[in-house]
Amino acid sequence: MAAEEVTLSSHIQHHLTNAKMCSTDAGLAFNKACADSGFWTWHIDTLAWSIGLGLIFLWIFRSAAKKSTTGVPGKFQCFIEMVVELVGDNVRDTYHGNSKLIAPLALTIFVWVFLMNLMDLVPVDFLPAFAGFVGEQAFGMDPHDVYMKIVPTTDVNMTAALALGVFILMIGYSIRIKGLGGFIGELTLHPFSSKNKLVMVILIPCNLLLETIALVAKPFSLALRLFGNLYAGEMIFILIGAIGLMQLPLHFVWAVFHIMVIVLQAFVFMMLTIVYLSMASTKSH
């Protein structure tokens, strides 16, 4: 009984571990050899899958863009244009400034995150088992030492990178639209303000603290929401996958429910990006 539990938990652990790569004194090292390589570790599965999916997104949309006609569109173009219009409408409704970046940014986030989330619907054991098989046959590795996490958005590095990108843009837009002074003013002069200069001096640190927390909370919530939803979903898929034959109906139910989560989380990430950037580029106070 105890041995079985260890196997289950190690199975889960195996599923939740990224394939790592780092450079050591002896050259490139992988996985367990990277246990204490610190920050300079690369999750090669996350990188490969996310960049691969990103390239698929760009390839699909670029080929639609190349063939796009202003006349009667084909079915493929119609589908792509539906996505473009969905994103474009949301951007126009929410972001009232004039920016050539927001719409393509939102489109990239929406489709890319959607494709990465979609990997969650591939049965959890297929690709890791296949990778283990290839590792064993081609490189003579122990299949338990081959790690493969195929959903990039269950890696906090991925979601944090997206959120960080949005955060940098938020600050950039704030400074560009309101000026550096306006941006600092927004951080320090609200929500508490006073006519009395002395009181104001006391209030400024409080404001700075509150506003900085509010500002930093945005990218954190962005990153952790997506990560948390997908990580939990993945976790449940793994658990369902471990209970034997009964997994089939449960898998189906959870997958159907997860379809919604996948689209919704991609949409929410996009929408919040637009909202945050819209807030960053309007003078609210």
């Binding site: 570790t41 996350t46 863009a65 202003t70 473009v84 990239t108 990178a161 990108g165």
Partner: protein
Amino acid sequence: MNLNATLIGELIAFTVFVLFCMKYVWPPLNGAIEARQKKIEDGLAASDKAEKDLELAREKAAEELKEAKTQAAEIIEQAKKRATLIVDEETTRGQQEREKIIAQGHSEIESERNRVKEELRQQVATLAVVGAEKILEREIDQAAHSDIVEKLVAEL
């Protein structure tokens, strides 16, 4: 939660994807959509305008037809009036001509009668005189009785 260099890698990938999308994906797709929207809008406007034009043309045609009908009726009416007028005029003229011709005939007849009467009277006078001469040749001197003969002639 172990943040590591993957974050940097993904950040770079994200930036590159967004830039590519901004340069090569969004503008042509959005441009195509907007151009098509413009086209459809123009098409609808043109069809509206054409419909209005058609309605206008129809109204104009109906109006012109009505006008033409009125004009035709007027012309026919005028022609009828004129025809009546001409007939009346001709009738009057014919009547006058007739009367004139009749009057002329009458006067000619009258003058002929007068002439014939005169001639007859002359001839009767001459005959009377000749007759009387014949009678008187034997009885009376012509000169002595000429005043009686003259009186007779005048009485004829």
